[in-house]
């Protein structure tokens, strides 16, 4: 009996590597300390009532952001482990097998569990406030989306200590990801983790499209919407058409692995190339899904900190929407080398180059907005200024890659790695950081310390170029991606060492950000104005943090930059328009079902990963029961009475 348990445990838990044991201890200590702290301060009820069951978009947004920053930490540690292994020729730091797992989890975590949730967090925080709404269109669904993401991400991360991590790359190309080549459970963790959180992403896409189309403040025409709202709309449209493709593709891979189907296998009439074709139909739109909102953030920031209306509003809208359309027609540029002939490659090379045009248009719009503006260089603006040159270079190397014959040389080399990190770090990460700094006071009611922020900014920026510029040259020198070590005779040593140093500089930049947050929580003074940056859009017209119902009376927004125009009028001595009398506000009730149901999905996913039906079936049953209970719940909303609104408003605005 004891022998059996020992044997089981040695397969169930990941063993062998001292790094893993260290992580085990770390995870156990963190969990224990969380439980102890919550129990000691009697905070379990508070956690459940105020956060886990909350359907308030502002709280859901904060939870998204916390989760994504934790994932940024994990993904970042993965990255530094890889850079350490590559710092010098013939390093003996990571085993090749371990290295494969790390680059796989790094990629998945950074895109799906860091960039996506950080983006959703910003949507949640900003969109309802910016369009003058009291919540999203479907608050219950919103909470469900978050918890599906959360438990999906947990399932994926668990593979680190239980069962073993996936190791077939972030897109899990077959045949490597098939049962024949990856018999372990790692690949199943990959499939289920992504599927569960992917459903959440799809629902968020739907939720925000409806919110933006249906819940804008009275008078806000589509062409008067703030630019971040436009970028969210274009990103969400791309989500609802792209994510089903991912879901289906991974479901087919699951059928191959679980039921012995032959969609992508080498034998039985399967074709692995088909998987590559399908996954990039999601994969290319996905890179635009994450970068479009960053464009929106930069537009808001450039205009606020230059004290000018955004230049070329219409062309910006057109650029955003055309990108989300064209992003569906370029996917084959990711496999020019697959051998589909000159016609196919020429077609997709041209569509790819076309996409670069609207992207370029936007850069000019930002530059013209800044031109002759009174620019103030606060943190959000700094990140924007760092972004522009970085993204321009990244876009240009993208155009180089899109030249199909040349791509036969660049493909899967470090040149490619440098390209997409330049657009993903320089574009997406810098963009979301800028957004975090910009809207932080709206979320928490105080700014982040500027001095520490400057340190973080310069470390990230310098670190970025030190890390990735050498990689272009390494690529041209023939270093391919996903190699776990290389010999002295290749001559790649010096550039790799430089690159590793750059990576660690960015790591230190991240530590500065953590310090900055901790320091600011303790020392920064409260912002009582609700409008610390002299903003232009509606979210700055209410106190920070916003009350549950956001707006006591719904604002009128008939012009672009409605709040800015209102402030101009007030400065000229005009009285603000008389507010309509307060009325009771209709709000959604909190619910524990999203949390419980997503946890049931997690259980079911875990059961499928290990092929233990005795776990999977109860998990699925739990999901079904949650759906039933929800269908028969009628008490889903309530009204906030007028005098409670009055009291809240007086407390919030009293100090203004």
């Amino acid at each position: 009996m004891f022998e059996k348990i020992k044997e089981f445990a040695s397969e169930f838990f990941v063993t062998g590597d001292p790094l893993i044991y260290g992580a085990d201890v770390g995870i156990a200590l963190t969990l224990i300390s969380i439980v102890v702290v919550l129990t000691y301060f009697k905070r379990w009820g508070w956690l459940w009532r105020e956060w886990l069951t909350s359907v308030d978009h502002k709280k859901i947004g904060i939870m998204y952001i916390i989760a994504s920053l934790l994932m940024l930490f994990r993904g970042g540690v993965d990255a530094l482990l890889m850079r350490t292994q590559l710092a010098m020729p013939d390093m003996q730091f990571l085993e090749p097998e371990h290295y494969n797992q790390i680059f796989t989890t790094h990629g998945v975590i950074m895109i799906l569990f860091m960039a996506m949730p950080l983006m959703f967090g910003l949507f949640n925080i900003v969109i309802p406030l910016q369009i003058g709404a009291r919540d999203v269109a479907y608050p219950f669904l919103n909470s469900l989306s978050f918890w599906l993401f959360f438990w999906g991400a947990m399932l994926f991360n668990m593979s680190f200590v239980i069962g073993g991590s996936p190791n077939a790359g972030w897109l899990a190309y077959p045949p490597l990801s098939e049962l024949s080549h990856s018999p372990g459970v790692g690949q199943d963790f990959y499939i289920w983790g992504i599927q569960i959180s992917g459903i959440g992403s799809l629902m968020t896409g739907i939720n925000f499209i409806v919110t933006i189309l249906k819940m804008r403040a009275p008078g806000m025409k589509l062409m008067k919407m703030p630019m971040f709202t436009w970028s969210t709309l274009s990103s969400c449209i791309t989500i609802i058409f792209a994510f089903p493709i991912l879901t289906v593709t991974l479901a087919l891979l699951f059928l191959d692995r679980y039921l012995g189907a032959h969609f992508f296998t080498l034998d039985g009439g399967g074709n692995p190339m088909m998987y590559i074709n399908l996954i990039w139909m999601w994969g290319h739109p996905e890179v635009y899904i994450v970068v479009l909102p960053a464009f929106g953030i930069f537009s808001e920031i450039v205009s606020t900190f230059s004290r000018k209306k955004l230049f070329g509003y219409k062309s910006m809208v057109f650029a955003l929407m055309s990108i989300s359309f064209f992003s569906f027609f370029t996917w084959a540029h990711h496999f020019f080398t697959m051998g589909s002939g000159a016609n196919v490659n020429a077609f997709f090379a041209i569509t790819t180059m076309i996409i670069a045009i609207p992207t370029g248009v936007k850069v000019f719009n930002w530059l013209f907005t800044m031109f002759r503006g009174r620019i103030s260089y606060k943190s959000p603006m700094l990140w924007t200024m760092g972004f522009i040159p970085c993204f321009v270079v990244g876009g240009m190397t993208g155009v180089l890659l899109s030249v199909a014959p040349a791509d036969f040389q660049f493909h899967n080399s470090y040149f490619l790695i440098a390209h997409f990190h330049q657009v993903l770090i320089g574009g997406v990460a810098f963009g979301y950081f800028a957004g975090l700094y910009y809207w932080w006071p709206k979320m928490f009611g105080f700014k982040l310390n500027e001095k520490l922020g400057k340190w973080a900014f310069w470390l990230w920026n310098i670190g970025f170029y030190v890390c990735f510029m050498p990689q272009y040259f390494l690529g041209l020198d023939g270093m391919t991606r996903r190699v776990s070590s290389y010999g002295w005779d290749m001559g790649w040593g010096p550039l790799n060492l430089v690159s590793t140093i750059g990576g660690f500089l960015m790591g230190i930049g991240f530590l500065f950000q953590v310090w900055q947050i901790a320091h600011s929580i303790k020392f920064m003074e409260r912002d009582t104005t609700g409008d610390p940056w002299n903003g232009r859009t509606l979210e700055w017209s209410i106190p920070s943090p916003a009350p549950v119902y956001n707006f006591a009376t719904l604002p009128q927004a008939t012009e672009q930059d409605a709040w800015w125009e209102e402030k101009q009028r007030r400065e000229q001595g005009q009285k603000p328009a008389a507010q309509p009398p307060l009325e009771p506000i209709h709000m959604p009730r909190n619910s524990g079902i999203p949390f419980i149901k997503s946890f049931c999905w997690f259980v079911a996913g875990f059961g499928f990963v290990f092929d233990w039906l005795w776990i999977a079936i109860p998990g699925l049953a739990g999901v079904a029961i949650c759906m039933l209970i929800r269908s028969f719940t009628y008490n889903t909303d309530y009204y906030i009475p007028v005098d409670e609104i009055k009291r809240t408003e007086a407390a919030l605005r009293g100090s203004v």
Binding site: L213, M215, M274, M281, F328, N343, E583, I585
Partner: protein, 116 residues
């Protein structure tokens, strides 16, 4: 149903919250009968070998497309939408994407040197 905290009860409210009723008993009945008929036709035609080869394919495809339209009109209420017709736009864009996926995959994969 959609939870709309900003529904007509809140301060001001939005014009959009006045939903039309989703169809009548009669329209649901017609839709139900039509979709059953459109399911039985291909089933019987193929199982009883009434049609073969290209003809069978044509029967299947035509009834499938009609079925699709019936579902959209009677159960998805596509024609009852207020302007702007977002549902219709989404549907059209969705069809474009589906077409791209299918035609694009066929084009790429038949040209694929390795696949042959």
């Amino acid at each position: 149903m959609a939870q709309q905290p900003n529904g007509s009860h809140g301060a001001g409210g939005h014009g959009h919250s006045s939903h039309k009723g989703h169809g009548s008993f009669k329209s649901y009945l017609i839709g139900f009968l039509l979709s059953i008929v459109l399911t039985i036709i291909p089933l019987v035609a193929i199982l009883k070998d009434l049609v073969e080869g290209t003809a069978a394919l044509v029967v299947l495809l035509v009834t499938a497309v009609l079925q699709f339209i019936v579902q959209l009109l009677f159960f998805m209420h596509l024609n009852e939408e207020d302007k702007p017709r977002y549902n219709l736009m989404t549907l059209i864009f969705g069809l474009v994407i589906v077409l791209t996926i299918v035609a694009g995959s066929i084009w790429i994969m038949t040209n694929n040197a390795v696949a042959h």
